[in-house]
Symmetry: C2
Subunit: 413 residues, 2 copies
Amino acid sequence: MTTEGFRVLDEKSLIDYIKAIPSLASKLGNQVDNLKVKEVGDGYLNFVYIVISPSSSIVIKQAVPYVRLIGESWPLTKERSYYEAIALKRQHGLSPKHVPEVYHFDRTMSVIGMQYIEPPHIILRKDLIAGVEYPLLAQHMAEFLANTLFYTSLLYLTTTQHKSAVVEFCGNVDLCRLTEQVVFSDPYKVSQYNRWTSPYLDSDAEAVRNDKVLKLEVAELKSKFCERTQALIHSDLHAGSVMVTHESTQVIDPEFAFYGPMGFDVGAFIGNLFLAYFAQDGHATQENERKAYKAWITDTIADTWNLFYKKFTSLWDIHKEGPGEAYLYEIYNDVWEDVKQKYMIDLFHDSLGFGAAKMIRRIVGVAHVEDFESITDPVKRADCERRALDFAKNLMKKRRSFNTITDVISTAL
Amino acid sequence: MTTEGFRVLDEKSLIDYIKAIPSLASKLGNQVDNLKVKEVGDGYLNFVYIVISPSSSIVIKQAVPYVRLIGESWPLTKERSYYEAIALKRQHGLSPKHVPEVYHFDRTMSVIGMQYIEPPHIILRKDLIAGVEYPLLAQHMAEFLANTLFYTSLLYLTTTQHKSAVVEFCGNVDLCRLTEQVVFSDPYKVSQYNRWTSPYLDSDAEAVRNDKVLKLEVAELKSKFCERTQALIHSDLHAGSVMVTHESTQVIDPEFAFYGPMGFDVGAFIGNLFLAYFAQDGHATQENERKAYKAWITDTIADTWNLFYKKFTSLWDIHKEGPGEAYLYEIYNDVWEDVKQKYMIDLFHDSLGFGAAKMIRRIVGVAHVEDFESITDPVKRADCERRALDFAKNLMKKRRSFNTITDVISTAL
Ligand SMILES: Nc1ncnc2c1ncn2[C@@H]1O[C@H](COP(=O)(O)OP(=O)(O)O)[C@@H](O)[C@H]1O
Ligand SMILES: Nc1ncnc2c1ncn2[C@@H]1O[C@H](COP(=O)(O)OP(=O)(O)O)[C@@H](O)[C@H]1O
Ligand SMILES: [Mg+2]
Ligand SMILES: [Mg+2]
Ligand SMILES: [Mg+2]
Ligand SMILES: [Mg+2]
Ligand SMILES: [Mg+2]
């Protein structure tokens, strides 16, 4: 809201800022005389600094009132930082092992001080490109998704709690609008921001714009995104929002968070794994054909959904007589398994639809993924992208006909 | 919110109250020395006074902090009056010919001063029982529904406007909860408030509680009611919220208003017409078998939906390049008719589901309708109610298989 009192920090002024904030200084062991600061932001929107003192380290993230990647010509409220801070706190509370802790938040300056996710943590997308397997990834993501989605839904909350949580996040509308535009609209029309591997995908991009069935489906998904306040969703859960080691999985960057459809998060993550899957042929070499890695990715997709299903429904069972007002156990006890199954199959279809939308927009929309961008041969890249695009189009149209994630995966092979 | 400064008015203290409010006194031609006051509240919740001066008349409605019908043992926030006032103003703005004007609102006192809907206006339900036809009813209700629903949805609003309107009404959660309880929950479980024409309908009521398929459907409808912020809905649009003459139709009492699914309003109205339809056999006499009247009711049901469809989609056409962000014309121009048809068929199925839920709860839930209550012979009443109940159960379960309102009506004959 306020612009007054806001200034863009740099590596130098950040040090003075930190010195003046006792909670941050204390997190650095009060050894603030020889701080090392490194800007590591690789995202589209914000600045991220790692701050290192002799005894420990923290991360400082600052939002600026525009899109960093584009510059001041694309303004974007820095209030996103406020929503990121409250979402991080909520999600950390619900899934403490998979979300960094917030140490400090300054709304005027749009500054979040948070736990440093230390090396060897690396952004998942980088290692999906490098071909590194993470055996616990699916289980951890299933936990994160189940915990953050279940506990913020009407399966656990009373209507009163739910509506007041909805209100809390409605103010993040500018970020919702950005998603609406770049995910659900721009890829389906001519837009100055769209790009694709041209000329190879020119007719593919045009086909998306002219695919009537696809457009009817994406319209329905967009309405659901705008209207369905099902749970507090992260809303930007791509492979660049997940940091991993072999033992740990951390979800960062929920600045798009709001009350929306659960399937948007589940789908984003699964869709990004499928993008990584389709990019593998572009990274294959004679020594490493990536066959085993492709199998690991599809296993991870299957495990993510299946473990999510298990964890989510088991939370529901545990809290079946809890405060949640949507499905009173007194009414549904004689039909309990059916209720869960129906809920989950609807969520499955939503997830497939949203996942497909997220894939399509990464191929013909404004923001692309390194998985494909790093394939230097444009013919090869276009080939991978086309197969991903065709898969996603089919998935969006046919999503209601799938009953298991295995069936979905079989259409990708 | 405030209790301080609130006091329950009566016919005497109301006069002093009016004298102190210039806007009300002026609406009475400033002739406030010989006011006549008559309490006419016949609803479940509030007090309604007609105030008559030598030159004109107004209506004063006061909410008390409990359910009038039950008493102080069932508390209910008097803040409902605030939501009624802002909904009345919004709906009057959108459909001025069919909603009374608000002259005055006092949040502390929960008092609304509004336009007196003069005789011969009568509550629609009364004349549905008496067997009086209203040739313009369907057209007027179609206009009211189309105007109030279209213009408050994302078909007309930007996302920013929509989310801030959602927020505005989230505070009306206590009234939403009441609906959730009495419409979507209590009829499907044993509840102290439920009643039915006993013993005749004992096994019918039990069958509702044990109908697994029905309960799965009502669970889905309840979630939609709680989660889908599709438009500003009236949310209590039964035949007692509509006042009619042969030339005029007025919709009152939107104290339950919030952002919810459009089908809840369309369904409420249509469901109440079906209740009236099934009650006719209980009102038939040898002189008047009510055959023609039943035909008028079913015609009115068909006309309401068909005219609503026409009016709603024509508003959409008019504003197809307007501010609404859900279906950008630039994307959907080559598939425009299909988009509308898909939207409307989904809305149709929602309306049938919600309409059925509203019917069921009037037969086995806490609040009944005079249409049946006025049938004094309990055997006859139970008979009418059972046919209505069976129709509604089937409608809820099979709603997605209906394509036209005529098909629906044919299952009632
Ligand atoms: N808590 C953290 N610990 C370690 N690195 C982080 C942390 N938060 C962000 N980063 C790094 O900064 C990059 C950008 O952060 P992110 O929150 O995704 O910003 P943006 O919103 O601009 O996308 C991440 O890809 C990651 O490398
Ligand atoms: N503006 C009005 N003009 C004339 N009569 C009205 C008006 N508003 C309410 N009434 C009368 O008062 C009754 C109760 O009003 P209503 O708003 O439905 O109260 P409740 O919320 O208690 O149901 C209506 O049935 C109608 O007879
Ligand atoms: Mg990021
Ligand atoms: Mg971000
Ligand atoms: Mg009423
Ligand atoms: Mg009322
Ligand atoms: Mg009865």
